[in-house]
Point group: C2
Amino acid sequence: MLQQVPRRRTDTRERLLGLAEQAILAKGFASTSIDELIAGVGITKSGFFYHFRDKNELARALLERHIARDRELLDDIFRRADELNDDPLHGFLVGLKLFAEMMDALPQAHPGCLAATLCYQDQLFDRTVHALNAESVLAWRRRFRARLEAIAASYPPRQPVDLDALADMLSTLVEGGLVMGRALKDPTILPRQILLFRDFLRLTFAP
Amino acid sequence: MLQQVPRRRTDTRERLLGLAEQAILAKGFASTSIDELIAGVGITKSGFFYHFRDKNELARALLERHIARDRELLDDIFRRADELNDDPLHGFLVGLKLFAEMMDALPQAHPGCLAATLCYQDQLFDRTVHALNAESVLAWRRRFRARLEAIAASYPPRQPVDLDALADMLSTLVEGGLVMGRALKDPTILPRQILLFRDFLRLTFAP
DNA sequence: GACGTAACTGTACCACAGGTACAGTAACCT
DNA sequence: AGGTTACTGTACCTGTGGTACAGTTACGTC
């Protein structure tokens, strides 16, 4: 029998983040205790505070990871949609369909959950976390607004339309869809709302 | 000088609820302490637990009050809109405009805030609170679906449309709009989203 | 092989939040 | 006069986030 020498790990921080993410998405930030996390990855409290100065910093690290991952996912989806299609409107419509399918498959994986969780527990977090959160929302707005401008250039809208508000509508539906999905325990609400947004776009721009 | 005899109050419970509502909308549920509330209304901890068996029951009472108030407000708005207008589509469009104006004036007064707060701190609450929350969302769905059915009967939609999803869209935009408004500290987002929903309805149903 | 650094452990301690458990009391209603 | 309502006061317990700091062990580097 080889005695397993307690090997030194270099991935403890990542394992903490992973476990924290799972726990927070399932139970919320306030209900996820540090004790629970350190028991899960097998370290002591001192170990936790070696990696994160406080719970706030854990939230920030988590949010950063989530935002980065999310950006890659969206980049990927809309790149694929654009490859299939040269037209800006049709590319966006295809991308939205892929997005809805993704949200159908893994609705809890979305950073919106985290963002909203953070929003509704305001006082628990500091300015840097709020700023990070706001910046990620604005990044969505810019991304979608650029696409909407390209679309509006080719397809004059049927009604005058505020492109910023229209870009925000998708984020709004995602955030709201996550809340609704939780409240009704029905994960199909979010993807259906995305498809409705798609219908709205088609009605607005399609000739 | 008349010595003020410490008069017995019968409205302590209401005052607790009022203060708690304010504090929770501003800071979130978890960050609002019982100590803070009892200091605010001038009673002791025992006094608090005389009125509410625990914090959970405070949440329930608050949610009930909010839901009732909300129903009255919506009833009022759409009654007024209907009085001005016999047509189901135009009545709804007018109602939505009034609703957007109301959300512009007092966005933080909406129970959606509370509902979402509760959603995202799941484990803190028991089944009765969740059920209450879900029921209030379903009440919205029924209310708007009934109107949409009346509209669809007079104005056949331009595209086939899922009336439940369309009814949910308004709730979704409200919930999401509150989150977005908080994240960006921009209270105009919610009313603008409601007006976009209005545009969507018009495009879908108007001849 | 010595030396520093990264990644922890261990111990001790603190404040605050959410309770629990009762016994007592003052005002009000009948 | 007696019961109910609306509390007060005291004491105590748990869990959670956090601080302080000294000690330890593996690893890479010179």
